[in-house]
Amino acid sequence: MKLAYAGTLPLQGTEIAAQWDSLYWFMVILSVFFFVLVVGGMIYFAVRYRNSVAKKTLYIKDNHLIEATWTIIPTILLMVIFGWGYVVYNRMTQAPSDAYEVRVIGKQWLWQFQYDDGRTTVNELYVPANRPVKLIMTSEDVIHSFFVPNFRIKQDVVPGMYSSVWFNTTMPGKHQVFCTEYCGTSHSLMEAQVIALDEKQWSDWVRGKSIDNVPVNGLGNVPFTAAEREGKTEQSAQAGGEGSIQLAGLALEGKKVTEAKGCVACHSADGTAKVGPSFKGAFGRKAEFVSGDSVTADENYIRESIVNPQAKVVKGFGPVMPTFQGMVSETEINAVIAYLKALK
């Protein structure tokens, strides 16, 4: 497994990222200069004037010229940095008026994307490459933050208001998205991907075709399974979770759906209770609810739990799951049910 990222910065997924990098390296060089000046000076003086060699000291209390110098020069440099920083920031915030708009809703702990044509996706944001894209974002619960390292953009997603962010990626492929405002238990699992499509792929997506085999750009291209997240190797996860069951066909499809839609942030496949009950053994068990009722988990119950999760909340868990109504198709729900059955 690749354990270190190649560069000290993420890839440059946009032109603004390149501009950002120039400013960053300018500041790094300036910082190294001042660090060497201060700490180098300190070490030089410490060695040169150590008391075993320097017995006599200079009596000097101040020097206005030198004090003015180290007040004025840093001030000028700071103003240059400020101005440069503002110029780049301004480009980051001024979205072109012809930008393609997507609505984003953050909720504990997934990202939902709504497109003009009425489609909705979860944790996968499909956008055209080489065209400005503007995200209009809000949150359903607490504050989240939408961060794309490859684009050097970040914007808090706040309940009760809209915030927006834009980018124009020159790099087709997947770009890692992190949530960067702490939002509770699965904050670190609230990941998504910007899927930037080239012209052909984009016209396929617009016509409703599914897009496969999009490569990952930089961050996020090292495989990292839900089981590894839980600190288990694939083997032990197999033993404890899916066991010797070979997932195939519809059940395997269902497993993929649970990963793509962010279900695994809250539901394990090995019997461990996380934010929600585990998938393992979920189907066919006698589910007991907070209300005191109980039911044997069948297809209808699983389906209801996906589209209207607040209807029956399992004892011992909070009523925190958002609805997936309109975000999963019937075929996907069938696949998930098949997966749960296989995990018995």
């Binding site: 497994m1 006599k56 000291t57 200079l58 920031y89 808090d156 702490y182």
Partner: protein, 546 residues
């Protein structure tokens, strides 16, 4: 105004009567009005909380040794970083230098018998302890997982333990206000004859600037935390949009206090360094006035830069423009101080006693902390860096590399005065190296992980960040070993260290004119300040050797 009722002691000296044996028993400590004993009580308390906060930090680092789950689940991890942050900020760094060292040293530097209001001083200590106890009670109520910043609306919706920590911080705040008030009055009213403002030691100037922030900013935190409690308990809609509130408003209120609080944390540390540099360079401090005024410059600017914590919160671009611009000006007075300290060494005669080692360590780490602060003040740069490990690394370089190094420098500088004993300089040297290496190993890789995009408060991270995290975790073990070693040799020194002379470092500030440890009433006779305290000219005959 002072509490002393004892008869004037005549036999005070190295083996005679002093503040430590002035009265005996635990009760005499718990009810003491002596600023020196209160300072020592704060010191023990702060060290205890430092250990507790440090254990949480070790837990955090251990969990982050692998990308996935290592030793704890996500909920436990979230509580770990919350307690680490809340304990270190509210119970360690804020009281460290002002309340512990300041209490002991300030009146003595002024040539006073005590602070202006000794009873208020003891009350401050108990208020602080009450706040700490209330805050830690939360551990028995499911713990707290909000992060030390308590951002709404998350903090309104999560476990009830939050109320205890918030209430604890609210209570501890009053201790901060009262101590600040006490110090301001003490500096104004209790200076020894001849101790004019122009002769005031820079540590006192720094504490003065700090006290102003404590008195003016802390009430804002108090009212904010009270509103948070009101919202949680009474469901008044102030911060939670679900109740009709504004989620970002809390961040404005919170940082209106907490950014000035950053300077409550660092200014006293700068004061300590300003004392140590001239003593061990045998030279006048360079730019006395500039250093004194820059403390006030920083304190003033501190109040109008809070918005730089909110560049991505959705606040207006005009606000971002102004906050970024003003924040740049924090770097100017800070730079003046750093350059002045280095200039103080120029053509000096430098002794490498332990306090000086820590002061040099401070300069190295604080310079990195300060320079990376400019990155975060720069609008475009901050958009990418905020809420990543770059920020974590930056403020640890300032708070640990700056304040804690200065605190440790100060402890070693005044230890002979406080305990009347000398410590093992060899052990101190080795543990210093261990701390310096451990610190850089722990926090420097975090700059890189942050620039690469690793977000903060992540229980699990992408495998690409593994190497940087593992370096950091290994570094944390060095840090822990280094600080433990310091505690051990200082403890040994207290039990069986060689007796300390009155003035082991040949310092000119007034506290060294009193025996070590000082008598109950600080000085055998009221000291008179005859000169500026930085009139160092070449090496005295007794130099280097105590």
């Amino acid at each position: 105004m002072t509490s002393t009722t004892t008869t004037v002691s005549h036999s005070s000296g190295e083996h005679g009567h002093h503040y430590l044996n002035h009265s005996k028993g635990l009760w005499s400590w718990l009810t003491t009005l002596d600023h020196k004993r209160i300072g020592v009580m704060y010191l023990y308390t702060v060290i205890l909380f430092f250990l507790l906060g440090g254990l949480f930090a070790l837990g955090i680092r251990l969990e982050l040794f692998t990308p996935g789950r290592t030793i704890m689940d996500a909920d436990t991890y979230n509580k770990f970083f919350t307690y680490h942050g809340a304990i270190m900020v509210f119970l360690v760094i804020i009281p460290s230098i002002p309340a512990a060292l300041g209490n002991f040293v300030l009146p003595m530097m002024l040539g006073a018998k005590d602070v202006a209001f000794p009873r208020l001083n003891l009350l401050s200590y108990y208020i602080f302890m009450l706040g700490a106890v209330v805050a830690l009670t939360s551990l028995f109520f499911n713990g707290v997982d909000t992060g030390w910043t308590f951002y709404t609306p998350y903090s309104i919706r999560t476990s009830t333990g939050t109320i205890f920590v918030v209430l604890g911080a609210f209570i501890a705040g009053f201790s901060s206000i009262l101590t600040g008030l006490n110090f301001i009055v003490t500096i104004h009213k209790l200076r020894a004859p001849g101790l004019t403002w122009g002769r005031l030691p820079l540590f006192c100037w720094a504490l003065y600037a700090t006290s102003i922030i404590q008195v003016l900013a802390t009430p804002v935190l108090a009212i904010t935390l009270l509103l948070l409690i009101a919202e949680r308990v009474l469901k008044v809609g102030i911060f939670d949009p679900a109740l009709g509130g504004d989620a970002v408003l809390f961040q404005h209120f919170f940082w209106f206090y907490s950014h000035p609080a950053v300077y409550i944390m660092i200014l006293p540390g700068m004061g300590v360094i300003s004392e140590i540099m001239p003593v061990f360079s045998r030279k006048p401090i360079f730019g006395y006035r500039a250093i004194a005024y820059s403390s006030f410059g920083i304190a003033l600017i501190a109040f109008i830069v809070w918005g730089h914590h909110l560049f991505v919160s959705g606040q207006s671009e005009m606000a971002n423009f102004l906050f970024s611009l003003i924040t740049m000006f924090v770097a100017v007075p800070t730079g003046i101080k750093v350059f002045s300290w280095v200039a103080t060494m120029y053509r000096g005669s430098i002794r490498f006693n332990v306090p000086m080692l820590y002061a040099l360590g401070f300069l190295e780490l604080f310079t990195i902390g300060g320079l990376t602060g400019v990155f975060l003040a720069t609008l475009a740069i901050d958009i990418h860096m905020t809420d990543t490990y770059f920020v974590i690394a930056h403020f640890h370089y300032v708070m640990v590399g700056g304040t804690l190094m200065a605190f440790t420098a100060g402890i070693h500088y005044w230890f002979p005065k406080m305990s009347g004993k000398m410590y093992d300089e060899k052990a101190a040297l080795y543990s210093f190296i261990m701390i310096l290496v451990g610190f850089n190993l722990t926090f420097f890789p975090q700059f890189i992980a942050g620039a690469q995009g690793m977000p903060r408060r992540y229980w699990s991270y992408l495998p690409e960040f593994t190497l940087m995290n593992q370096l950091s975790t290994v570094g944390s073990w060095f840090l822990f070993a280094g600080f433990s070693w310091v505690a051990i040799y200082l403890w040994k020194a207290m039990k069986s260290g060689a007796p300390a002379p009155a003035n082991p470092w040949d310092s000119l500030t007034l506290e060294w004119q009193s025996p070590s440890p000082p008598p109950h009433e600080n000085f055998l006779e009221t000291p008179v300040c005859k000169e500026w305290p930085y009139e160092y000219r070449s090496q005295p005959a007794s130099a280097g050797k105590a």
